[in-house]
Amino acid sequence: MDIFDLRWDIVWNYRDMFIRGIGVTLILTLSGYFGGILLGLFLGLGKLSTRKWIYWPCKLYVDLFRGTPMLVQILLIHLALIPTIFGHSLGYMVSGITALILNCAAYNAEIFRAGIQSIAKGQMEAARSLGLTHNQAMRKVILPQAFRRMIPPLGNEFIALLKDSSLVTVIAAPDILYASKIVAGASYRFWEPYIVAALLYLILTYGVTKIVAYIEKRLSNSYVPRKAEGREAR
């Protein structure tokens, strides 16, 4: 049993587990990410608020979730928080998605805050000087510009979350890594199942990288190309 005598057929026999693992990993990551974007947007806007009773809770939240390990958060949510609220566990999926949303939101909040703050002050002033309300100015002028700048860090966050989702194996969620652990435990072979896990994560993150690069290229920093053409016809 060593690296020169790999037995891929063992992994192949467990292929259904790995396929299910990919599904679980993707569901966890996608739910956590898009939930985290929504919650993160509110937290990010909250951190930009001049009202202290809005700012401080948002800041506290972000500091708390960025400053503690996600592994600890998952265990606390699964073993303590949810059973305390509901009287019993709601399963690894609910706990896993909750933990990923809450954690991802904290990081996304900082991305949103930084993106909005990076837009020159003159843009808000120009919009307000025309008579737009703060909300109208945000919607029509600030956010459309800020979102473009947020795409690269939001892409990074997705990749980070995809990898961090493997931490849910600790509450027995049957994701990619969990499948590898089962195979390793049953066969006492370690190279093959963990190499497969690594490869599967690599393929997924590489795919995401490509998608982000494509979006970035389409919404490149210059506002001029493509969009300007064909506009007259409207």
């Binding site: 003159g122 002033e125 307000r128 025309l130 008579g131 029509k140 510009q145 506002y223 300007a228 506009r231």
Partner: protein, 240 residues
């Protein structure tokens, strides 16, 4: 039309405006001149509440604007502003820059707004650039679009905050020409400027500010031809 009473403005401990009293009549062009740091821009920015007023009162058409119950957005829609750095919206085409506010605030439909937009762009000589993006335009062109954008709200007055200071010298004239035409049409304008030629030629009144005060005020002939205050004389001696 615009009346300012005992206006004070602090930035933290620093007093930038130390009691300004002034009144601007309808259709007047008032040019504000003075050294850097004299409070000219702050004075201008207080008039549409881009800066919060510390003390004093500002009335626009007899409505006190620095009061919590005044709808500041409605006031701003009536008082246009043109910035030193243009501040066009880079993610919108030129025509969208002009039509966005009337559509959002005046609830104009797109057809009406675009008709108005093209009319205003023609006025500033840039209708051919309507479907370009701001970054494809020169500085002078961008500033002319910014003027069209301000005009689209059909304001009662326009505030100009050093509109030509960020421009290359050869582009200053095209912007000043647009402003001259506006003045000739009877637009009420307050212009913070370093263009003494413009102040002399187009201004109805010239205000000299220094150290947070209005030091001297009068017709261009009085200020440029026969300044009374020593500080005015010293400043003009340096810039003319």
């Amino acid at each position: 039309m615009i009346k300012i009473e005992n206006l004070h403005k602090y930035f933290g401990q620093l007093e930038v405006l130390k009691g300004i009293d002034y009144e601007i009549q309808e259709k007047q062009v008032v040019c504000v001149i003075g050294p850097s740091g004299s409070g000219k821009s702050t004075f201008l920015r207080c008039i549409n509440m881009l800066e919060e007023v510390t003390d004093g009162a500002i009335y626009i058409k007899n409505v006190k604007i620095n009061e919590p119950k005044t709808n500041i957005n409605a006031i701003r829609a009536e008082v246009g502003m043109v910035f030193q750095q243009f501040n066009l919206f880079p993610h919108m085409t030129v025509i969208d820059n002009v039509t966005m506010a009337p559509m959002q605030i005046r609830k104009m439909n797109r057809t009406e707004a675009e008709a108005l937009g093209h009319e205003l762009l023609k006025k500033v000589g840039l209708d051919s650039k309507a479907y370009n993006y701001p970054e494809q335009l020169s500085g002078g062109q961008q500033q002319r679009v910014a003027i069209a954008r301000a005009l689209a709200m059909k304001p009662k007055a326009i505030l100009f905050d050093e509109p030509t200071s960020a421009l290359d010298p050869e582009m200053v004239k095209e912007v000043l020409d647009v402003m001259k035409n506006l003045a000739a049409e009877g637009m009420t304008m307050i212009v913070v400027t370093h263009e003494m030629g413009f102040a002399r030629e187009v201004g109805d009144r010239v205000v000299f500010m220094d150290g947070g005060y209005i030091v001297e005020e009068g017709t261009p002939e009085e200020i440029f031809g026969n300044p009374q205050n020593e500080r005015t004389k010293a400043f003009l001696g340096k810039v003319l």
